[in-house]
């Protein structure tokens, strides 16, 4: 793993309001989740050294932090790609061959579900439903929806992100 620069994490710790701390300077247990959210927003994921820093400086046992992080789907322990690709596997997408779209994404990116492409551009996940059944089959990249997909569409859409056509 490449070295993680902890300056930003230290900054975040330094900015914590006194009201979120106990008298002995340790961070209140209730404040752990907002703190983890701040760290993740900064790094895109939760780097282990940053969690170890919180544990050490904030007086929260690493085991508790790890328990919380692995409990919530929103937290990531591995770096994610620059773009999040989510493929829907809801009922409507399923009957319209959504599974084939998912495997096309897998093929194009060369990664499985939950994986991140070697170039660091994409992380691929499937989700229970994107709530846009009228677009089935559908995938979502970052904040954009791509609907009524054919297997062949996947590559050209992803290529546009690769080439920097979409930021």
């Amino acid at each position: 793993m490449s070295e993680v620069n902890l300056d930003a994490a230290r900054d975040i710790l330094g900015r914590i309001d006194l009201s979120e701390k106990l008298t002995n300077g340790k961070i209140k247990p209730d404040y752990l989740i907002p703190l983890l959210q701040d760290i993740q927003e900064e790094y895109g994921y939760l780097p282990r050294p940053a969690l170890e820093l919180i544990s050490r400086e904030g007086g929260i046992p690493l085991s508790r932090i790890f328990g919380v992080v692995t409990f919530y789907e929103q937290f990531y322990l591995e770096p994610r790609g620059k773009h999040m690709v989510k493929c829907c596997r809801g009922t409507a997408c399923h009957v319209k061959n959504g599974a084939k779209i998912a495997s096309a994404i897998s093929d194009v990116l060369g990664i499985g579900e939950g994986g991140t492409s070697a170039d660091g551009l994409f992380t691929f996940e499937t989700v229970a439903c994107l709530g846009t059944c009228f677009l089935a089959p559908v995938m979502m990249i970052d904040e954009s929806y791509y609907g009524n997909l054919e297997e062949g569409d996947v590559k050209s859409i992803l290529d546009r992100y690769r080439e920097g056509g979409v930021k």
């Binding site: 002995n24 007086g59 046992p61 690493l62 085991s63 508790r64 328990g67 692995t70 409990f71």
Partner: protein, 899 residues
């Protein structure tokens, strides 16, 4: 607390309001099924088996999360409950692979029992067992194994680690169907905050967590459990030795509810007893021939010992003989040993390693209060409003006591004040940490008292009615304002004031101390200062208060009680007092000497100077444990005749003329007296190796060959004799202490023992204040030796390592010693962690790896004395406290260089 009436299955029960209903039910003999319940933990309500029906409230409710209120009425068994429990069990089996045929727990497994009771099928639901989980935190690790296929996610392991042990090493990883128990990032336990206490293994209701060494060594139901008292520290934990069909120790467990440890043990108690079966155990008497030993019969060895000792006595006089007794051995052995020295050697040259640990406590507290023992009881530490820990690394050296303190602080019941030259584990949770320089304790405590008096926080009523000599003490204290103490100790004056206020303001406050206070040339002064402060604030003679020295060895309290000291008979009856002498002359039937004998260090010097020709060392290893060991070895080599009685061929035994093989605590019956003065049983659990014998039997053999006529048939008989001549043990007998020990003073057979000393009246009448002035340590740092060396112990090892370094787990976790050094000192010396360094003093040098840690303050380094490869006591100074004759292990000048 108010009592309430509740009803369980139609039976009326009175219990405290708010009591846990499940607990009350179990106490009253009701069998409510449960898997996630452990009385030491907060209720979890995870397994759903303890459901009951409640009158007036429809549905079913978990009894483990229910609190007793007036009129509560529950039913614990019904068709509805049975059906629900059956389904619940079947769901549990979907995540528990029932491999009972190969499981150690088979036949002693609650899950199995309940499945049978409620007719649950293992395979009703598809299995969601997480077989082959890729990141098992115990794989490739030491001591503890986790089989995820048997885990039912009850959380007992996670909770005991968090709530009881306070180690917080493990957690639930993931959620819903994907949950496993794990360390953060699946790190090995030895890399995590785990303390290897094995509490998780002990509380696990299935075979999911297990001791690796016990796997396949026998099913739990086939094992014999023998209740005993732990051999390591002075807490005196009650353990169950689990003995397999082959008669060997398989594992150690403990039962919730036992006194004083409530089922908890530390890593040594759990995993530190494999030494008893080691091949290196002594099995036959050994007699020196030239540079080697040869095996001999008991008769030959004992005849030789008796003849040589008698010969020396005849030729050189009684004063040429001395004995060292053993704080690791039982009360009965110590009683017999001192009786042997006093009656057969004819002098009082008997001492033991208490000289090296708490001699200053015995001297100091006896002067101040009239009794040199811990004033209060271990149990009180769960509810003490303020605990002042000074010079005690409690979590490592008295671990189960440490977790009690840690838990009380975590629950908000206790404010914790710590004074220690190092950042120890307790400082992490302390409300304040005073990081004083070694040797500056008197200044620190005097300055705290200065503040208390100055701000009128002292208890004038208590001082007036219960104490004497206050004025002289006050005069001494008023010479030591916090600003002066700051200069000496390095602790900011304001912090000293704040700490003083914290201590004085507490409704009751307990002082806990250990070797950091006692092992100084000012050891007695340090103890007197603490006694002064406790009396100043009225914190003696009541529960949740007092001055509490934590005794190091399992039976150092007992060895002192038994008269293993040069100036007192059993029960601290002074040898120089004619009435005491007369009493023991009558009891033992021989004339006795009224001249106090020599202390450990004086004995060693005596051997070195040729004054003492014959020495009987029993269960001690002075070659590693005494200060300035190069001198000790030189001395011992000069002895005309050295007898060593031990369970292993120790470094000291290697120098002996005759070595006598003793039995360990697991191979015989006897009693230890723990730090809270509780006399407790240890019991024979395994067969003794070879021809080894109990210590008292060996010593009796020597005594009878020197002219005595002792006929002891058992340890119990010896205890009866002890009770007859020792008033504080007057009411002790094996019959009375079978289940729970008794705390002395226990003067007669009806007496229930004494939890808190000095209630209403001090043992000496009035508590006596002593004026104490600050004196610097003997050897101050200078240009040549610029750092202060302080020494001590660590969690995983015990003293000279005779036992712990022969334990696979303990030695596996910490195979070698390190010197702890601050980042500032290390930086200046160009040292990084794991660098080999040379550590030297004016007395010797050692080579050891460095551990650069911010737990150390600049200018101070720390060594343990467990490792013969890097013996700390080759460096320490044999400078003695003038009263207690305790050496200054905690401070000498030292030089550290990169190798």
């Amino acid at each position: 607390m108010n009592s309430v009436n509740i009803r369980i299955n139609g039976k009326d029960i009175i219990c405290p309001e708010g009591a846990n209903v499940m607990h009350v039910a179990i106490e009253n003999g009701f069998d409510i099924p449960n898997l996630c319940y452990d009385q030491r933990l907060s209720p979890t309500g995870a397994c759903r088996l303890c459901i009951v029906e409640m009158e007036g409230r429809p549905g079913v409710h978990t009894s483990c999360t229910m609190k007793a209120g007036e009129g509560l009425s529950i039913v614990t068994e019904s068709d509805k409950l049975s059906a629900l429990r059956k389904s619940t069990l079947e769901l549990i089996f979907s995540e528990h692979k029932a491999t009972c045929t190969s499981c150690d727990r088979e036949g002693a497994c609650s899950l199995q029992d309940y499945a049978y009771r409620y007719g649950a099928a293992e395979d009703r639901y598809p299995s969601i067992v997480k077989g082959g989980h890729s990141d098992n935190y115990t794989e490739g690790g030491i001591a503890i194994g986790y089989d995820v296929e048997k885990c039912i996610r009850c959380m007992r392991c996670v909770k005991i680690c968090e709530e009881v042990q306070g180690a917080e090493a493990i957690t639930l990883d993931g959620r819903s169907g994907n949950v496993v128990v794990n360390t953060p990032f699946s790190m090995l336990l030895t890399d995590s905050s785990c303390e290897m206490c094995g509490q998780c293994v002990d509380t696990c209701p299935t075979g999911a967590l297990y001791a690796k060494a016990a796997k396949g060594k026998g099913r739990v139901r086939t094992m014999k459990k023998v209740r005993t008292t732990c051999l390591y520290c002075g807490v005196g934990c009650q353990l169950d030795l689990n003995i397999g069909a082959d008669g060997k120790l398989v594992k150690v467990t403990s039962e919730p509810g036992v006194i004083p440890n409530d089922g908890n043990t530390c890593v040594k108690g759990r995993f530190g007893f494999d030494f008893i079966h080691r091949d290196e155990r002594l099995t036959m008497p050994l007699i020196r021939e030239g540079d080697a030993f040869r095996e001999a019969s008991w008769d030959e060895a004992l005849d030789l010992v008796a003849t040589r000792f008698s010969g020396i006595k005849e030729k050189n006089g009684s004063e040429a003989l001395a004995g060292l007794t053993s704080a690791k051995s039982g009360n009965e052995d110590n009683y017999i040993m001192q009786k042997f020295v006093r009656t057969q050697f004819g002098n009082n040259n008997i001492d033991h390693c208490a000289r090296l640990c708490h001699a200053s406590t015995v001297a100091g507290l006896a002067r101040a209060f009239g009794s040199g023992a811990m004033t209060n009881s271990i149990d009180e530490f769960s509810d003490t409003p303020l605990i002042f820990v000074i010079g005690s690394n409690t979590t490592e050296n008295h671990p189960v006591m440490g977790i009690k303190i840690r838990k009380a602080v975590a629950e908000g019941k206790t404010k914790l004040l710590v004074a220690d030259p190092r950042k120890i584990s307790l400082t992490d949770i302390a409300h304040m940490h005073l990081q004083q320089k070694p040797g500056s304790d008197v200044a620190l405590i005097n300055a705290m008292m200065y503040t208390i008096i100055d701000e009128k926080l002292h208890d004038r009523d208590f001082i007036k009615s219960r104490t004497e000599d206050y004025e002289r003490m006050e005069a001494a204290v008023m010479k030591c304002p916090p600003e002066f103490a700051e200069k000496v100790s390095g602790v900011p004056a304001e912090d000293i004031r704040a700490a003083a206020r914290l201590y004085a303001a507490a409704e009751s406050a307990s002082i806990v101390y250990s070797m950091g206070i006692t092992q100084h040339t000012t050891g007695t002064d340090n103890v007197l200062s603490l006694a002064n402060m406790a009396m100043l604030t009225g914190n003696v003679g009541k529960p949740f208060a007092g001055v509490n020295p934590l005794r190091g060895q399992n039976n150092v309290q007992g060895a002192c009680d038994m008269g293993g000291l040069p100036d007192v008979y059993p029960g601290y009856q002074k040898v120089h007092l004619p009435e005491a002498k007369a009493k023991f002359e009558k009891a033992w039937g021989v004339p006795l000497s009224d001249k106090p004998g020599l202390t450990v260090n004086e004995i060693m010097h005596g051997v070195g100077s040729g004054k003492i020709k014959g020495l009987y060392v029993f269960g001690e290893n002075p070659v590693l444990s005494d200060p300035d060991t190069n001198e000790v070895v030189k001395s011992l080599k000069k002895a005309d005749f050295l007898v060593v009685q031990d369970i292993f061929l120790t470094e000291t035994a290697e120098l002996a003329d005759v070595v006598l093989p003793a039995r360990s605590f697991a191979e015989r019956d006897g009693t230890f007296t723990n730090t809270e003065r509780r006399v407790q049983m240890y019991r024979e659990a395994v067969a003794a190796p070879g021809e080894s014998k109990p210590d008292w039997e060996i010593i009796t053999g020597v005594a009878n060959r020197m002219g005595a006529d002792w006929n002891y048939n058992s340890a119990s008989e010896i205890m009866d004799e002890i009770a007859a001549v020792t008033p504080i043990y007057g009411g002790i007998s094996y019959e009375r202490i079978t289940d729970v020990g008794l705390q002395w003073p226990c003067p007669d057979k009806e007496h229930k023992g004494t939890a808190v000393l000095h209630q209403g009246k001090f043992s000496r009448g009035l508590g006596k204040f002593h004026p104490v002035d600050y004196l610097p340590q003997q050897e101050l740092p200078d240009e040549d030796y610029p750092l202060i060396l302080t020494t001590g112990r660590m969690l995983q090892h015990w003293h000279t390592g005779t036992m712990t370094r022969k334990s696979e787990v303990l030695h596996g976790i910490v195979p070698e010693g390190h010197i702890q050094i601050s980042p500032a000192d290390a930086g200046r010396l160009g040292i990084v962690s794991e660098d080999m360094v040379k550590v030297s003093t004016r007395r010797g040098e050692i080579r050891i790896a460095a551990d650069v840690t911010d737990r150390m303050k600049e200018g101070v380094v720390f060594l343990t004395f467990h490792f013969k490869e890097s013996p700390a006591n080759a460096l320490t100074i044999a400078a003695l406290d003038p009263i207690a004759k305790i050496p200054e292990f905690k401070a000498c000048a030292v030089k550290v260089e990169k190798y």
